[in-house]
Assembly symmetry: C2
Homo-oligomer: 123 residues x 2
DNA sequence: ATGAGTGTACTAAGATAAATAATACACTTA
DNA sequence: TAAGTGTATTATTTATCTTAGTACACTCAT
């Protein structure tokens, strides 16, 4: 379900958050479907349950999932999620483009690259 | 010369590296011109000289600067630098675009956003 | 030659965040 | 009732960043 990248300098819990966000916004995890339990996912990834707990807490805080006591965590049916996620990605996009621009990359080259990256992208 | 962002979660030395990279590739720091000394820059930024030392070590390792014993650090005249930096930025760009694509953003919307971000960018 | 300013190296200590470890408890459901 | 949930708590370990202090060889203007 999730593969951790130990080269990634970001903390594990943040990687888990990102991966689950993607699974949700892409519809792999359907609205109201159940997520793996804290303990199971921890086992599967060979990490501590507390780390998953932290990731789930963030996802809940961000509105991606909701908990049901004694039953588990479930995917939020919130339709706003994709829109909100989009805005986050656009913020990152803007930052990178700002750097490219400062580096002297022309608008034409940038757009050309962007187009080919979009097409090349391996799913 | 450099302003640190203490909201930024990245380590200070990394911010220093990034800022100096930008100053170099943008030509603000000319090839073979001298950088501020480790101690002076540390004073200016109110941080420890060791932190600047580490930033300079990275910059040297990356080929952005070269040291002269007893004299100081100087901007590398390497013409490849901009090209190499460009490739690094493009790698980041590719990553963000991959995420956008996975989110379901269309190529058209992406390129439109990219174009406006390029123009909006505040120098 | 001297002294101030360079880079560079080293060790030690402190600070912070991430991750683990080990429990505990209330809830749900078969 | 027992197994599986979420949730909370405390303590400990680990890694990284940052600071602090010191030391030494080099360059250059005086």
């Amino acid at each position: 379900m999730i593969i951790l990248d130990y080269q990634d300098r970001r903390p594990i819990y943040e990687q888990v958050v990102e991966k689950i966000q993607l699974l949700i916004v892409r519809g792999v995890l359907a609205p109201n479907s159940q997520l793996p339990s804290v303990r199971k996912l921890a086992m599967e990834l060979s990490i501590n349950p507390n780390t998953i707990q932290r990731a789930y807490a963030e996802l809940e805080q961000q509105g991606f999932i909701y908990p049901v006591k004694g039953r588990g965590n479930f995917v939020s049916p919130d339709v706003e999620l994709i829109q909100r996620q989009k805005e986050l990605y656009f913020r990152d996009l803007k930052k990178v483009i700002g750097l490219c621009r400062k580096l002297g990359i022309t608008k034409e080259e940038l757009l050309e690259k962007a187009a080919s990256f979009y097409e090349e992208d391996d799913v």
